[in-house]
Amino acid sequence: MIRKYIALLRMKYVEMLAYRLATIVWMTGAIVQPLITMAVWMNIDPSQSDAFLFYFMAVIFVERMTSAWDVWELDREIREGTFSNYILRPLHPIHWAVAENIVYKVLFLVILAPVWAVAALFVPALRFDMTGGQTLLFLMALLLGAALRFLLSYICGLLGFWITKVTAVYGVLEVISLFLSGRIAPLSLLPPVLQQWSIFLPFRYMIGFPIDIITKAANSHDMLQGFAIASIWIVVFVIALRWIWKAGLKKNQAVGG
């Protein structure tokens, strides 16, 4: 399995290099919306400007690190019939997607972390101090977030076996997550009802939860609860994914090509 993964990773790495420019453009992708939202919050509460600056920079960083694009890939591949190529191979197609995610996210990390470090030299608001344990917790939360978003995106993509507009379905989920993941506002500023919902739904653990750890907004009880709920969602998603995969293969009728 490890050897297979090494081969896959190398293949995806070469693929990524072929699309260097597109990768860079795409990496800068979703920064305008968080910046505008940041301006709104700074205007609402100027005394907290530094905290908002840190929060929304962290949103941009975490959002990139956990972003998932598999639903668009799967949608296209299933619709055009090229997905059959993967089904025929002796390795589950999800491994290709996992390898691709690892390659791109390592690249994001390698580029974004030094950018943050340099920016922190000039902007004091971006500095933070964390113990080794906290860093570990943050990285774990980040990994959980990336896994949750990836699984959700992949599940939605597999729905393409039944319906043709899976990207629209995923779009609706993305919009819901806009509120409940903490992208529109730090979760503590939301109305209490939405805050409550956000604890039990998976979206918060995709973006807001890792940031809460790094800003120390989450105490040990919150963290324990957060990791527990996120893990439960991972299990739910994995079970759902397996079930949909089996049912989908039965349903699959490849389009010729």
Binding site: V32, N43, I184
Partner: protein, 262 residues
């Protein structure tokens, strides 16, 4: 002029017929439009859960602004977005030949041939939100308010069209595949909120350099009766100047068009 109105009506009809071929998509589009505006209103509500003013604008004012934003975006998605990226294709593939040989102004043709009819729903929804905001504010715009509003929103539309056209016309020299519309989207997104909300140099840039915020703020202020004749006239004048520039640049660029062999 009459002839062009007739041709535009013909474009409209052709696109409408085309759209009717995909009738089942209509419901989906309708739902997504409603969903979009609903989310936008919800976002504003979340901000106003923590405050009672944004850059000096009250909740009702911001709703009017949101309505103007949606209306303008609907108009752009209806007429501009379907056409502008196509120009790149025409130049790259050499299909601009077919357009140049038609007995109709080429700039008019490439700008308005393709209309996405259902995007007009966004215009209607935007007007609905404007109305809702005005009711919340208990303000009935006078006739002059409405006239200034129409002048300024038209100026905004013409300005956006001219700038986009200028950008796209550069494709005669620089062959590009990506349509760069994401740049436009990013800047237009800043127009969603009062420009007074931004600070320091960002505000200056958004007011004078990339007037993204002004293009929606001014029509909204007009409807709220806070217009200023001088700025409205400047906006209209600026729009006409840029339209003229875009027109001149298009003419100039056509001279460098050498087609592409097929």
């Amino acid at each position: 002029m009459r002839r062009y109105v007739r041709i535009f009506r013909e474009f409209f009809r052709a696109c409408f017929v085309e759209e009717l071929e995909y009738r089942s998509e209509f419901l989906g589009n309708l739902i997504s439009s409603f969903f979009g505006i609903g989310i936008a209103v919800l976002t504003v509500n979340i901000f106003f859960y923590q405050t009672d003013q944004l850059g000096g604008w009250t909740y009702a004012d911001v709703l009017v602004l949101l309505g103007v934003f949606n209306t303008l975006r609907g108009m752009i998605d209806f007429a501009l977005r379907p056409n502008m990226p196509r120009l790149l294709e025409h130049v790259r593939r050499g299909t601009l030949d077919y357009i140049l040989t038609k007995p109709v102004d080429s700039m008019f043709y490439v700008s308005f041939r393709h209309l996405v009819f259902w995007r007009l729903i966004d215009v209607l929804l935007g007007i609905g939100v404007i109305g809702y905001g005005l009711i919340k504010k208990h303000y009935i715009p006078s006739l002059v308010d409405v006239i200034v509003f129409i002048v300024t929103i038209a100026a905004s539309f013409v300005l956006i069209y001219s700038l986009w056209m200028l950008l796209m016309t550069t494709s005669f020299w620089v062959i590009r595949i990506d349509d760069l519309s994401f740049i436009f989207d990013s800047f237009f997104e800043t127009a969603r909120f009062p420009v007074g909300m931004y600070r320091g140099w960002v505000r200056i840039v958004l007011t004078y350099v990339l007037p993204a915020a002004v293009i929606t703020n001014m029509p909204a202020l007009s409807l709220l009766g806070k217009w200023n004749m001088a700025t409205a006239l400047i906006a209209a004048l600026l729009a006409l100047v840029f339209l003229w520039l875009a027109r001149r640049f298009w003419r100039f660029a056509l001279r460098f068009y050498t087609s592409a062999s097929s």
